[in-house]
């Protein structure tokens, strides 16, 4: 998650000038894979649920190292998702395949450090202060 995401949401996404997208990075083996599958399975029920699960996973980041599928189902339950459908989705090999494919795609692009993001077609790597983000985004917006 971008450190400055809350400010970008409030000052750019809310004004309709920036949309956020998320691409999976598997840096930590099974715990990573389980968390990304959980986000995908939330999204399969409702695209906004993907983002609510995304926010919850970052909020509970310290618990993810020991998490199991049951823990993810509990997260889904907290978000009001259909637990049975969510559990079935976690077992779906197509979801794991999608996450792996997206992770491989970013490796193929040479994206190997965090944080990394692409604004339209421009790759930006490194932790930017919010003020620097403002200059960058306003530059793209022609402000």
């Amino acid at each position: 998650m971008l450190r400055v995401e809350p400010e970008i949401l409030a000052n750019y996404v809310a004004k309709g000038t920036v949309k956020l997208a998320f691409s999976h990075v598997l840096d930590h083996g099974k715990p990573s894979m389980l968390a990304h599958r959980a986000a995908e399975c939330a999204g399969s029920q409702d695209p906004m649920a993907f983002w609510r699960m995304h926010d919850l996973l970052f909020e509970r980041q310290d618990r993810l190292w020991e998490a199991d599928p049951y823990g993810m189902v509990q997260f889904a339950s907290e978000l009001g998702l259909d637990g049975v459908a969510f559990e079935a989705c976690l077992d779906d090999p197509a979801i794991a395949e999608k996450v792996q494919r997206m992770d491989q795609a970013r490796r193929d692009l040479g994206i190997r450090s965090r944080p990394s993001f692409v604004a339209n077609d421009q790759l930006v790597q490194g932790a930017l202060a919010y003020a620097t983000f403002v200059d960058f985004l306003d530059g793209l917006l022609g402000k």
Partner: protein, 110 residues
């Protein structure tokens, strides 16, 4: 008596020179203060280092200068875009689907 007055004048003159020299030295320090933003950027860069995966190469410094032509874009507050989500191919999108900038975050949850 006259000799004593001369000494007072000389002391006052010396004191004035010292005060003026002091003010000059303060002005010379000012440019160092203006270098602070550079230091702030360096600190921000260093703070991200621990999150970089050990097997991967960390970048040296953030790059943040748009290199493509930009067009002035009007804001659109006709909807609560923060709570609007959609799908583009494999990607989940948050915000105005027609926003001129797509910010794609490559990230792990851990």
């Amino acid at each position: 008596m006259e000799l004593k007055s001369w000494w007072i004048y000389i002391c006052l003159l010396g004191l004035s020179i010292l005060l003026l020299a002091g003010c000059g030295a303060e002005e010379a320090v000012a440019p160092t203060v203006s270098a602070t933003p550079t230091i702030a950027v360096a600190a921000a860069t260093a703070s991200i280092a621990p999150t970089v995966a050990p097997t991967e190469v960390a970048t040296s410094a953030p790059t943040a200068t748009p290199t493509v032509a930009s067009v002035a874009v009007a804001e659109d507050t006709s909807a609560d875009w923060v709570n609007v989500a959609s799908v583009e191919g494999d990607l989940y999108i948050r915000g105005n689907p027609n926003a001129p900038i797509r910010l794609l975050d490559y990230s792990d949850f851990l």
